[in-house]
């Protein structure tokens, strides 16, 4: 009864703390990428136009943003003070990673910006126009290699959609995925691939210096400052933008949703925002409310369709590149060799009986191993300080290997707690890196 009262009181206290105009923007990617930069530009602009709000940016990278998305949908449900940056790549990431959570599970707010894609060839390439490149592609699809970012990303989607538009199956594209647009840049400059596809900004420097020739951009209309025709002008009736948008958690009331939309609309209309996106070379693609929800559904349908057709022709399709190594060749071979060698090791060891010595502290090590396995649960339920203090004490006792007296345990606890508190202070207040709650379990919020 007392415990429950205490929990309710703590919940109340943290709830009021939360209410004091805190906003968390989650960038579901590592620092440095487009989503992260979008979040950080929003943070900066909000600091100007809403001085009373303190905005925190959280990076939750992984699996084309789907890890951030599923954590966002699960743990921020009903919280109007949390936003997630998203974009086209997440739409395809949800499908290719078979994510159980999709963008439809969040509350769409607004599309903010986009970057046009560009198809380039090295300046020494014989292909002068997009139709030259497409002719070569039609004649021998395998001989034209397209470099770009990760498989299933915007660059990949663009080439696959383009292939379908010119009458070839998406699976005929010899797409070479690189770690990112930057790595693809090196490959096309070095003439390793026939053409490369990426956001215009990635190639802008080389285009300006005349090392790369832009054949077409993927925007719906010409873009000021870019001297290249659109896909439509080149006879390919499609457009595609690497758009970025904002979604809110599920479980919001209509009033809350409208309030967030109004807030984001205000942000996107501000001079500071317009200046910042111009500086980053992003296009203003602001679209909010019902129109954005419509757009999102259309993009989801389009991406899903092309990925499904791609997957359907994947296994049997004979015209697909005769690749002598499939994605499973190396892992399976590794596993087989590992099994063989490990078996060999076991046999040789059993014969030699080399490792017969006893380990005096084996029980203690096992205990410590168990504690380590339980640590993730403890970290999330009891918070960093309690968890680390306990780990510290268990390790110290395990090292001594004897039944500890009350005084040693008390000493270990005191030293461990002091250490944990100092580290916690350095990380959270000093560096602004959030560690799990001090004492109040995060998980209580999910349960209640």
């Amino acid at each position: 009864m007392i415990l429950r009262g205490a929990v309710v009181l703590l919940l109340f206290v943290t709830a009021t703390l939360h209410a004091s105009s805190q906003l968390t923007i989650i960038a579901p990617a590592a620092p440095g990428g487009g989503w992260d930069q979008t979040a950080r530009v929003m943070q900066r602009v909000l600091a100007e136009i809403e001085p009373a709000t303190s905005v925190q940016v959280d990076n939750i990278p992984g699996a084309a943003g789907t890890i951030g998305l599923s954590r966002f949908v699960q743990s921020e449900r009903g919280n109007p003070d949390a936003l997630l940056v998203t974009g086209l790549v997440m739409v395809s990431g949800v499908i290719t990673n078979a994510s159980p959570v999709s963008l439809s599970d969040a509350t769409p707010i607004a599309r903010l910006t986009g970057e046009t894609e560009v198809i380039v060839v090295p300046s020494a390439s014989p292909h002068q126009t997009l139709s030259d490149l497409i002719d070569a592609f039609r004649q021998n699809p395998g001989a034209v290699s397209w470099g770009g970012g990760s498989a299933g990303g915007t660059d990949d989607l663009l080439v696959r959609l383009l292939a379908e538009q010119v009458g070839l199956p998406a699976s005929h594209v010899n797409y070479i995925a690189f770690a990112g647009g930057g790595a693809a840049l090196a490959a096309v400059l070095g003439g390793q691939v026939t053409a490369a596809v990426s956001g215009y900004g990635e190639f802008a420097g080389q285009i300006a210096a005349g090392q790369l020739r832009p054949l077409a951009i993927s925007a719906a209309a010409r873009v000021a400052g870019i001297n290249a025709p659109t896909l439509r002008e080149s006879g390919v009736p499609m457009d595609l933008a690497n758009w970025r948008a904002i979604v809110a958690p599920p479980g919001l009331s209509d009033a809350e949703r409208d309030a967030i939309t109004a807030r984001v609309t205000r942000l996107a209309g501000s001079d500071a925002w317009k200046k910042a996106i111009a500086q980053h070379g992003w296009d203003d693609l602001f679209l909010a409310g019902a129109d954005f929800r419509q757009f999102l559904l259309a993009e989801q349908a389009r991406v899903e369709a092309v990925l499904q057709r791609l997957a359907a022709t994947d296994p049997a399709g004979p015209p697909r590149l005769a690749m002598s190594i499939t994605p499973t060749t190396v892992p399976n071979a590794t596993l087989a060799i590992f099994g063989l060698l490990a078996a060999g090791l076991v046999v040789s060891r059993a014969r030699a009986r080399a490792v017969a010595s006893q380990l005096p502290g084996f029980k203690m090590a096992a205990l410590l191993g168990l504690a380590l396995l339980l640590q993730p649960v403890l970290m999330l339920t009891a918070g960093f300080i309690v968890c680390s203090t306990l780990m510290f004490t268990v390790t110290a006792s395990a090292w001594r290997g004897v039944r500890p007296s009350v005084t040693t345990i008390a000493k270990d606890l005191a030293v461990g707690a002091a250490f944990a508190i100092v580290i916690h202070a350095i990380f959270t207040t000093g560096l602004g890196v959030a560690l799990p709650a001090f004492v109040i379990p995060n998980s209580l919020f999910v349960i209640s």
């Binding site: 990673n97 790595a183 502290g361 560690l435």
Partner: protein, 488 residues
């Protein structure tokens, strides 16, 4: 040269010196703290520096990058807990040196080696950047694959260890298997993920290193009981003895020679050069049996390689706008925030800024040496903490490091599991270093192999018809032949 002079005029302005000092101090601090890399630090500072002069901000960011490379070795050596992938190799022998009572020497050779390598590599950066870029662009997937083969051939010498050669190969295959977990970069297909979303992004080498080294070693020490845990008190001179100087200077130079060009490669990174340096030092050493038990060459070489590759990374970043490491990606974002586009025209449009930043690297390296050498005495005192508390502290720091890389509880569980695997490997007398080799080299080699084949439409001859690739493969074959003939 005139350009560099202008650069020094910019970098030596008092206000820029101050920003540089702030950068290297902060960088050293984040390098020492586990799990907080330079990438995250710069990202956190980006919005704060918005109103700042771009040159000042970039000088500070470059200082953070270099500083973190210095500081990162400290936790590897003292706590066996590498904070980032560049210092994984340092932990192997660096921590053994600390246990042998030579922590001061290990830290000093790391700091001085970093200074030597950082300065020489910056000289190379200011003189050869345009040439390096042209060479780097000649590297296609076939060449990268050939380079990986060469690396594999070189580093298999590290496989030995206390147990049998067979055990070394088992460790290597374990690393390769761990490396293939996650989304396949080329097809987007998930491999060995068992439907767990957490595994989609693969297994971070830093997490594995923390598990194998810090956690695995702690479990092993505990299992043998307190009587077996010999750690010698600091003995001899605090810094380096004459003998240690003699053994260090060549590895510093060789590490620089390996680190800078590999860092400049668009798909280089810091792991490969540190690993290569370790293997080469072991091959050239008169006492290869000391490797793995605290050989100073094994700290001096990789640390120099690591810092030289950090300078190398700036070559593609400044001349192509091409980030080749996580930190470089954030630095690129920093350039873009100020409306600057790194690339072929940056040197023409913003000579003051570019050369100012390059000159500040010389200054920053000198500052770092002055900052770090006195700290050695302080760090070494950490080892006189009572053992139970030291190990308690190591496990807390290791867990924190694992957790704060991606702030995921899954990483904590993974560290525990890998730690237990590390314990089992030690129990069966299998070396742990090959696991790291497989994990780092394996995925890269596979991707480049398949990319090269895909570009060549399945034709294996691309590896032999391209001259650079053929030359690399030939030298790999030569090493194998020499190795076999020498053994007979």
């Amino acid at each position: 040269m005139g350009d560099l002079w202008t650069g020094f005029v910019v970098a030596l302005q008092p206000i820029n010196l101050l920003w540089g000092l702030a950068g290297v101090t902060l960088g050293t601090a984040v390098g020492v703290l586990p799990g907080i890399g330079p990438a995250l630090t710069v990202a956190l500072l980006l919005p704060v520096t918005y109103g700042l002069d771009p040159t000042a901000a970039l000088i500070m960011f470059a200082g953070i990058y270099y500083g973190a490379m210095y500081g990162g070795s400290t936790t590897s050596i003292l706590l066996n807990t590498p904070g980032e992938s560049a210092t994984i190799v340092t932990a192997i022998d660096g921590h053994q040196m600390a246990r042998n009572g030579r922590a001061g020497a290990a830290l000093a050779t790391a700091a001085i080696g970093s200074f030597v390598a950082g300065t020489l590599a910056t000289v190379a950066l200011s003189l050869t950047a345009p040439v390096m870029v042209r060479m780097a662009l000649a590297f296609g997937s076939a060449e990268y694959f050939a380079l990986m083969v060469l690396a594999f051939v070189t580093v298999t010498t590290v496989l030995g260890g206390a147990g049998s050669r067979l055990a070394g190969w088992v460790s290597l295959m374990l690393g390769l298997a761990l490396g293939s977990v996650g989304i396949d970069g080329l097809s987007g297909q998930a491999r060995f993920t068992f439907g767990i979303p957490y595994l989609l992004d693969g297994i971070d080498p830093v997490i594995v290193a923390i598990g194998l080294f810090a956690v695995g070693e702690t479990l092993w020490v505990v299992s043998r009981g307190p009587d077996e845990d010999h750690v010698l008190p600091v003995r001899g001179s605090l810094w380096m003895t004459r003998e240690e100087w003699r053994r260090s200077w060549k590895p510093w130079l060789r590490g620089t020679a390996i680190g800078f060009p590999m860092g400049a490669l668009p798909a280089g990174g810091a792991e490969l050069p540190t690993l290569m340096s370790y293997a080469i030092e072991k091959r050239l050493s008169a006492r290869p049996e000391e490797f793995g038990h605290g050989a100073i060459e094994a700290v001096a070489g990789p640390e120099a390689a690591n810092n030289a590759s950090a300078a190398g990374t700036l070559v593609p970043l400044l001349t192509l706008g091409l980030p080749t490491s996580a930190t470089a990606a954030v630095l690129l974002a920093a350039f873009q925030q100020f409306g600057l586009q790194p690339g072929p025209l940056l040197f023409e449009h913003e000579p003051k800024l570019v050369w100012g930043v390059i000159a500040s690297l010389y200054v920053g390296n000198a500052m770092l040496l002055v900052l770090n050498l006195p700290l050695v005495g302080l760090w070494v005192k950490l080892l006189s903490i009572p053992r139970p508390w030291l190990y308690g502290g190591i496990l807390v720091v290791a867990s924190l490091g694992a957790f704060s890389v991606h702030r995921s509880a899954g990483d904590l569980l993974l560290v525990a599991v890998i730690g237990i695997i590390g314990f089992v490997l030690r129990r069966i007398e299998a070396p742990v270093a090959p696991v790291m080799i497989g994990l780092i080299l394996g995925p890269a080699a596979e991707q480049h192999l398949r990319r090269a084949l895909s570009i060549g439409q399945g034709d294996w001859s691309v590896f032999l018809t391209r001259p650079l690739s053929a030359a690399l493969l030939a030298s790999a074959a030569l090493i194998v032949v020499i190795g076999v003939s020498r053994r007979r």
